[in-house]
């Protein structure tokens, strides 16, 4: 079912409908944030707490000849100085990454990227810790760095990972998907083929709060409490147990309020491990908070895919096949966070929203002397790259066929009756109804009128562009049959307790970094058991107080934990029904659920509220046969499939022909994330993601010079968009529920980040049509747009 309900753009939005269930509602967590009562890692103050600072490599590639820490150790306020050699004695110099590679906690042999951790100091305060770093003397023997991924596999390239036995090159992995022979056959016979080199440059999530932690190892109890900026506290706990050899029941990971994650806080960083070691060594709590530059130069980056996209079609615009080759730059260690069987994440959805005959992708990943990471920044496990590729190459085809890009897309959409649809790379799209979403976006944008305006402007020499993208995402990892991270299945637990007075506590494994979980999950439970969201406390981010689950990233919280919350509430409701039948002295079959109460069928005067049932469940008196006291339940939800949200985006840009500055004038975003729990929160997620998209399309890039110096180490150099670069977002929606999700919901957290960059780039390229430009790479800074206007578009360095 598709409901097309555009919201009038000028309508007043009441953001507090006081729903008992789904609907607009102000966020329960916001008073805390607005009034400065949020509690972040850096707010944690413990008696006797010490501070840790990390000495980082100033160069991209060098052998460590010697480290002299004596001057730092002699500082009266320094409590410990630890080097890689010291960690190696404890077997802790290296740690596994989320992709079954290893990464140095502190460098022992070589440094492999600028900003790599070399030593740490624990001192009485943050200032002394930082000052003491300057007292450490490291002698480096500089080695040639590998900076350009295109040159990483040249036989003469220096070998970065000589720590791996027998490694003689910088090859990281190869991966392929689809049917090569079938795809080649379609290409060979095709009437039209288009090939385009497309780079998705390295960008950084740059959350407002940098990464950090407070480690408190209590020697008598042997218990480690770790407050950390983690998007996945449970997974981290298990990994600390496996790596550091601490027993898991003696580790408590607390992710308090988190100031933005975007994937940047999924990995375990060396700094966390250093803080744990620091606390064990000194017997005191140790705080480590990285500064802005450390965050930008050393933590999980995103993208860095050098792609060739090829598309085959008939002359009248029927797309037949897509083929792509990708060179993936993984930096010095493969720190990609993705389910293990998916080294390229979910890049396999590069077939997009189109019904194809064949598809094939071959990827080669390489090591370079750059920071590790590789999957972050709201990317849904590489779907950002995939969607960008397909939505750009489809526009290239439209350009070659001189066809309207919307018409080309609509002509090739997977049709509603084809769902569930299995793509040529094996993904099973659960549900979709693409054309109404596309048409709604066109209607909201006034597409025909925009094209007329564009024609008039072009005639006058003005540059106006209209860009379209249509994306399908695969989110909600994932089914345990094929998805795990380092052996941990991606199912989520959830626990619900209704107290005697009818107030409830729901405990989640996922962790909010700003997504509004404390509201959304209360609403999901409210919808099922009729207790107002205000009466439902959402507990999350503390491994001692919540059930196991894999955390918040890849838009998985609602698809996985949201399902768990709905199902656990239904379990409670089922039990409540039996208790109600006892209270009303009727059979269960005679009871009807009206949100908040069980009513006797045919006799509305006889009913009991959920609150009364709760009191009864803990109260005196007998309960029905076989029913235990209390009103609580627990569940672990294993998703049957991913969910496949989609959307249609239209962007309008104006370019100053004299200065090549791009102004995003309008942006229409129609999203379909299935059932909408809190429309205000959904809009917030979309607004944020669209803003991210403007950043990536127009200004963001982590660049390096040829020596491997990171050129994006501060927010003066790494630009993030402000309110002045973005238009008033025009959002709309359709609703196509997920058939397998208990409440029909799909993920929304990353849709806009995924869908907006191609719309913006397509708009810029469209504006440049008078210059016969078919493609220009991000970031489309004025200088790079001007290069394109001179007929000389350049890949980013």
């Amino acid at each position: 079912m598709t409901v097309v309900e555009p919201r009038p753009l000028d309508s007043f939005i009441d953001n507090d409908e006081k729903p008992i269930g789904y609907g607009r509602m102000l966020r329960k967590e916001d008073p805390r944030f607005i009034r400065g009562k949020g509690r972040y890692c850096d707010d944690v103050q413990l008696p006797g707490m010490l501070h840790l600072a990390i000495l980082r490599s100033p160069v991209a590639h060098a052998r460590i000849v010697s480290i002299d820490t004596s001057a730092a150790e002699a500082h009266p306020k320094v409590k410990a100085v630890v080097t890689g050699a010291a960690l190696a004695e404890k077997g802790l110099a290296w740690m596994p990454t989320l992709s079954n590679d290893v990464q140095a906690v502190l460098a022992t042999d070589k440094v492999r990227f600028q900003g790599q951790e070399v030593a740490f100091v624990v001192a009485e305060d943050r200032y002394v810790a930082r000052d003491a770093l300057e007292l450490i003397d490291v002698e480096y023997e500089i080695l040639d760095p590998v900076i350009d991924a295109r040159k990483a596999l040249e036989p003469t390239a220096p070998v970065i990972r000589d720590d791996i036995e027998g490694k003689t090159d910088n090859h990281c992995f190869d991966w392929e998907t689809g049917d090569e022979a079938a795809t080649n056959a379609v290409f060979d016979a095709a009437e039209v083929t288009v090939s385009q080199d497309i780079v998705y440059p390295r960008v950084h999530p740059a959350p407002m709060e940098t990464c950090g932690c407070v480690a408190d190892y209590e020697r008598v109890e042997g218990k480690l409490t770790l407050w950390s900026t983690s998007q996945a506290p449970h997974a981290h706990r298990t990994l600390y147990a496996l790596v550091a050899g601490l027993p898991e029941h003696k580790i408590r990971v607390i992710s308090p309020d988190i100031g933005g994650g975007f994937g940047n806080k999924v990995p375990i960083y060396p700094g966390y491990v250093c803080a744990v070691v620091g606390s064990i060594v000194t017997g005191k709590p140790v705080k480590w908070m990285e500064d802005r530059s450390e965050n930008l130069i050393s933590t999980g980056f995103a993208r860095d895919y050098i792609m060739r996209g090829e598309i085959a079609a008939t002359r009248d615009g029927k797309i037949q096949a897509i083929r792509t080759h990708v060179l993936a730059d993984h930096g010095a260690f493969n720190g990609t966070a993705a389910p293990v069987k998916f080294p390229a994440g979910f890049f396999g959805v590069f077939t997009g929203s189109y019904d194809l005959e064949a598809a094939y992708c071959k990827m080669t990943a390489v090591y370079t002397n750059k920071a590790p990471g590789g999957v972050a920044y709201a990317c849904s496990f590489r779907i950002t790259e995939a969607v960008y590729l397909v939505e750009r190459i489809v526009d290239c085809l439209a350009y070659e066929l001189d066809m309207d890009p919307v018409e080309l897309r609509i002509k090739n959409f997977i049709q509603p009756e084809q769902f569930p649809y299995t793509t040529k790379t094996g993904w099973v799209y659960d549900s979709g109804n693409y054309e109404p979403a596309m048409r709604l976006a066109m209607e909201m944008a006034g597409y025909e009128a925009l094209r007329r305006e564009q024609a008039e402007k072009r005639a006058r020499g003005e540059l106006m562009g209209i860009g379209v993208s249509f994306f399908t995402e695969a989110v909600g990892a994932g089914p345990r049959k094929n998805m795990d991270i380092l052996g941990l299945g991606m199912a989520d637990g959830c626990e619900l307790r209704v107290h005697p007075t009818g107030k409830a506590v729901v405990r989640l494994s996922v962790q909010s970094q700003g997504q509004g979980h404390e509201t959304t999950f209360a609403q999901i439970v409210a919808e099922e058991i009729g207790i107002p969201p205000a009466d439902i406390e959402v507990v999350h981010g503390d491994t001692d107080n919540t059930p196991f689950g894999l955390g918040t990233y890849g838009s998985r919280s609602t698809p996985v934990s949201g399902a768990a919350a709905a199902l656990v509430a239904r379990k409670v409701r089922d039990k409540a029904k039996i208790i109600a039948s006892g209270m009303l002295e009727v059979s269960v079959a005679d009871l009807e659920w009206q949100k908040g109460a069980f009513v006797v069928r045919g006799d509305p005067s006889k009913s009991v509220t959920i609150q009364a049932i709760a009191m009864r469940s803990y109260g005196a008196g007998d309960l029905p046969e076989g029913i235990e006291g209390g009103l609580e339940a627990q569940i672990c939800y294993n998703p049957e499939n991913l969910t496949y949200p989609f959307g249609a985006y239209i962007c309008v840009v104006d370019i100053d022909p004299g200065t090549a500055e791009v102004k995003v004038r309008r942006f229409v975003a129609v999203d379909d994330c299935g059932t909408r729990i809190n429309p205000m929160i959904i809009e917030g997620q979309v607004h944020g993601g669209l803003t991210d998209g403007v950043g990536m399309a127009l200004m963001e890039m982590i660049a390096f010079d040829e020596d491997g110096n990171c050129l994006g180490g501060s927010l003066m150099d790494y630009l993030i968009p402000t309110a002045l670069e973005v238009p008033d977002w025009e959002t709309g929606y359709t609703v196509t529920p997920s058939p397998h999700h208990p409440i029909g919901a799909k993920g929304i957290g990353e849709s806009a980040t995924v869908g907006s960059p191609p719309a913006i780039v397509n708009a810029v390229v469209d504006a440049l049509k008078p210059y016969r430009i078919r493609h220009a790479d991000m970031p489309l800074t004025p200088s790079r747009v001007w290069d394109a206007m001179q007929g000389n578009p350049k890949p980013p360095v």
């Binding site: 200032y127 500064d291 802005r292 200065t659 968009p721 004025p782």
Partner: protein, 292 residues
């Protein structure tokens, strides 16, 4: 949080006190005005100093905009925001308001000062380009007295000025001439970013012809660049699109941009041309009471 190295802090109570402190503490000391350039450099440990002399209490003494016959004087502690909001200044030199609207953001403008901006001598600094365009001069004072230098003398290279270790910039003096106007144009990658290129222009008319014109460019050389060749080419001419184009071409030829993250040298050269035309066009339109 980025933390600076240890330093000692003194608050100057007046200009003489500041000079006395500088005299005593020598090159190990630095003045801090708005702090928006100096503090980030200290936190990044690019600026390491032993003593910080805070001159914010001098705002009463050195925060002013005085319009006098034939000259306008701006005290070095005048803050960006005061420059932005001053109507007499905008009336005399609209270029100031143009520039202040695109310098940094309100938080920076609330504290940053014209003195700090000029003394920072960043090659992309906007107020330097404004002062160069307006043929300003700088009054500098030290223990051995005061001296006045032209903008060309003031800049000695990137981040280097004529102000000695024991001296302080007191005020900026701008000659006021009749029948003139001015404008400022800037291209930035994002609001609040430093200029990719920016350009100031000032034009004075005598009837239908240009009696004098000046152009000042930022971010296309080691310091802001005044381009005397443009003044020569424009004097005595009737303003026209061709004339602006000629001036633009001179600007492009006479600058020395380099390629960096903000843009390629070729693009910056193109902008020098484009923005020179725009700023001249807008200045003359303003003289004729047209446009903003």
């Amino acid at each position: 949080m980025q933390v600076p190295a240890p330093f000692e802090y003194e608050r100057a109570t007046g200009v003489d006190d500041a000079i006395a402190l500088l005299d005593r503490l020598g090159s190990a000391a630095r003045l801090v005005a708005g702090g928006h350039s100096l503090l980030p450099m200290m936190k990044l440990r690019l600026a390491n100093l032993e003593y910080l002399i805070d001159i914010n209490d001098l705002h009463g003494e050195l925060g002013y905009i005085e319009v006098e016959p034939g000259q306008l004087r701006v005290g070095s502690m005048t803050r960006h925001r005061e420059l932005l909001e001053s109507d007499p200044l905008a009336e005399a030199f609209p270029i100031f308001r143009d520039a202040e609207r695109v310098i940094a953001d309100p938080v920076v403008r609330n504290r940053g000062t014209i003195g700090g901006s000029l003394c920072q001598a960043d090659p992309s600094e906007d107020l330097s380009a404004v002062c160069t365009t307006l043929d300003a001069s700088c009054l500098i004072r030290g223990s051995s007295g005061s001296r006045e230098v032209t903008m060309a003398e003031f800049y000695r290279g990137p981040y280097e000025t004529a102000v000695g270790d024991d001296e302080i910039l007191i005020e900026i003096r701008i000659p006021v001439r009749p029948n003139g106007s001015s404008a400022y144009e800037k291209v930035e990658r994002r609001a609040g970013d430093w200029a990719v290129v920016s350009c100031g222009a000032a034009v004075w008319m005598d009837g239908d012809v240009i009696s004098d014109a000046r152009v000042g460019l930022a971010a296309v050389g080691p310091n802001t660049t005044g381009i005397p060749a443009i003044s020569e080419a424009l004097r005595g001419k009737v303003p026209s699109e061709d004339l602006y184009a000629e001036a633009g071409a001179i600007a492009a030829e006479n600058c020395t941009p380099s390629t960096d993250m903000r843009g390629s040298a070729e693009y910056k050269r193109h902008l020098a041309n484009e923005l020179t035309r725009r700023a001249l066009r807008r200045s003359t339109a303003r003289i004729h009471g047209q446009g903003v």
